[in-house]
């Protein structure tokens, strides 16, 4: 009924950026609508998290229980269900992440609360909530309204709002962990990313290839081009799904975040999971489709047949290099 609740996200003892991104947006909504902003942190040894989060929320509710050592979506659903019953928040914000995506939809279904996911913007006008989300891999935006109700749930896309603290000194509340039935799902282990031979996160220049290169047979040509440019070769997810390049080369939310000086995207249409992981000074995109979302973030664009353009570009680069 009232209050904006943000479900903090942490993994392996680290608070994740999405927590502060949500708090930033939550603060903006709270300010505009006169709602209070509450952060919820659920886990084991959550005290330190709660203190950090207090700088961005009016209230922090920390649930600390040894049984919550590893993330389990079913248990999150049970705990949040009890908290919703107790506090009846107007809006519950959850990250559109591997964790948030895991428990938010089931929570909404179980509590019969309306949800929309992967939001890139939210507006709160009194009790009326409007969300903006993307369809068709970012080619279209949709404005979503909610049927009037006590509570709403949204999941927020990562990397949209800046993760800045708002400088509050929020009230710290520690709450008893509600009882929850034992989950049938058992955590086994985390598997860390394999360390590869090439570290694309350290490259100054990246030539990054997508599905648009058409064929695994074009990888050597792209490698040769990257070499001529003094760049490393990275890729988007479909290239890894097709086993054209190993996962260590993948740029994206499930792969690596890169911050080169120059990022040359070749045949990458630009799903948000990819775009969010590119923090380059200059982005250049070569793509057949002039409407590809990659052009929303590119400084320079070339529409055309990359298999024609790349060899010519390689020649031109070598010529310029020779002139030095």
């Amino acid at each position: 009924m009232s209050g904006i609740f943000v479900v903090a996200e942490h993994r392996k003892g680290v608070l994740r950026d999405i927590t502060f991104e949500m708090l930033k947006k939550g603060r903006e909504l709270a300010g505009a609508s006169g709602e209070s902003l509450t952060a919820l942190v659920i886990g084991k040894n959550t005290g330190a998290f709660a203190e950090r989060i207090a700088a961005s929320a009016d209230t922090v509710i920390a649930i600390d229980d040894p049984k919550l050592e590893n993330f389990n979506g079913e248990i999150y659903q049970n705990i949040l269900s009890a908290i919703i019953d107790e506090h009846k928040p107007l809006l519950i914000m959850i990250g559109h992440t591997a964790a948030g995506m895991d428990f938010a939809p089931g929570l909404a279904a179980a509590k019969n609360i309306a949800i929309t996911t992967d939001c890139v913007d939210l507006k709160l006008d009194g009790q009326k909530l409007t969300a903006v989300r993307q369809l068709y891999s970012g080619k279209i935006n949709a404005e979503i309204s909610f049927k009037p109700a006590e509570s709403y749930i949204v999941t927020l896309r990562s990397g949209i709002f800046p993760p800045e603290p708002s400088g509050t000194s929020g009230k710290l509340l520690s709450a008893a962990c509600p009882d929850f039935p034992e989950s049938a799902k058992r955590f086994i282990e985390y598997i860390e990313a394999a360390t590869g031979t090439v570290d694309i996160t350290q490259a100054d220049v990246l030539v990054s290839v997508g599905q648009g290169i058409g064929d695994v047979k074009n990888i050597p040509m792209m490698e040769a081009f990257a070499q001529a440019l003094g760049a490393s070769l990275s890729c988007s997810r479909p290239v890894v799904d097709r086993k054209w390049l190993p996962q260590e080369r993948q740029v994206g939310s499930s792969g690596k975040t890169v911050k080169p000086k120059v990022y040359l995207a070749v045949g990458i249409s630009g799903a948000f999971q990819h775009l969010t992981a590119v923090k380059a000074d200059i982005i250049i995109a070569v793509n057949k489709d002039p409407r590809a979302p990659i052009f929303n973030i590119a400084d320079y664009g070339i529409t055309g047949d990359l298999l024609q353009i790349i060899p010519k570009l390689q020649d031109a680069v070598l010529k310029l290099k020779g002139g030095n």
Binding site: G106, T116, K256
Partner: protein, 260 residues
């Protein structure tokens, strides 16, 4: 192992100039295909059946055009198919779709239910997990590897930044399948022939266990309007012949990138 796999027919907008008309996009002239994530899910279901025996049933929501998606599942190796179809389903959001699918799933014997992790059209990434809650099934989302053993499933979930998480679930369970988990097979002519003799069961809202007051236009959320995303950056497009473009771009790389 009796497996249910949910599939969706979606327009392919990859190279299309999408035209908006009201709350919908104009799909006239666009090719349609099975949602990419669902192809991985169907492939995984058929592989599990080939390994452990049992059956695969494909389910979709939609009008008769969605039979394409079910015939493809048959051709891949599914044994049965159900299409739930009713005008009152129109306007359903992710949770409402999950309620409809759960209504159909609950009437079919199952050890495992698979969903694609998301759909390429509306991209909620939520329907499978919502269905798990409605069905009361243990679940894992974003699965990129799975092994079945003795009534249990060991699933590897994809997290961020290359990290994975392994969880174990008892059967029956529900999984949402992430792309790259396998290499979906090509459809064979033999498969198409086999599919042609199989029947698609069509069920209306009255024939499944669903509360019609919570679906379709009674969904919790509603799409009010569609619009083109604002342009965040003014891209400078390089024009001219391929040779001219190459020379211009090489110069940009040299000047702005300072890369060589």
């Amino acid at each position: 192992m009796d497996i249910i796999v949910c599939v969706k027919r979606v327009p392919d907008t990859n190279e299309a100039d999408i035209q908006i008309s009201g709350n919908f996009i104009n799909t006239k002239g666009l090719p349609f295909d099975v949602n990419e994530w669902d192809k991985y899910a169907v492939e995984e279901a058929v592989r599990l059946k080939e390994k452990y025996g049992g059956t695969v049933t494909a389910i979709t929501i939609g009008d008769s055009e969605s039979d394409d998606a079910l015939r493809r599942a048959f051709a891949t190796g599914a044994d049965a198919a159900v299409r739930v179809s009713d005008d009152i389903f129109n306007g359903s959001d992710a949770v409402a779709s999950a309620k409809i699918l759960a209504g159909a799933i609950s009437d079919i014997k199952h050890d495992l239910v698979l969903f694609g992790a998301q759909a390429s059209d509306d991209g909620y990434g939520a329907t499978g997990q919502a269905a798990a809650a409605i069905l009361g099934l243990p679940y894992a989302s974003l699965v990129i590897k799975l092994e079945a053993d003795n009534g249990k499933i060991r699933a590897t979930r994809e997290l961020e930044a290359g990290m994975n998480e392994v969880v174990e679930l008892p059967l029956p369970a529900l999984l949402t399948i992430q792309s790259g988990i396998n290499e979906p097979r090509y459809i064979s002519i033999m498969g198409i022939r086999k599919a042609s003799s199989k029947e698609i069961k069509v069920l209306s809202a009255g024939e499944i266990s669903v509360n019609t007051a919570e679906i379709g236009n009674n969904s919790g959320t509603k799409t009010e309007k569609l619009f083109l995303p604002p342009v965040l950056k003014q891209t400078e497009f390089l024009t001219g012949s391929v040779d001219e473009i190459a020379v211009k771009l090489a110069q940009i790389l040299k000047d702005k990138g300072g890369t060589f």
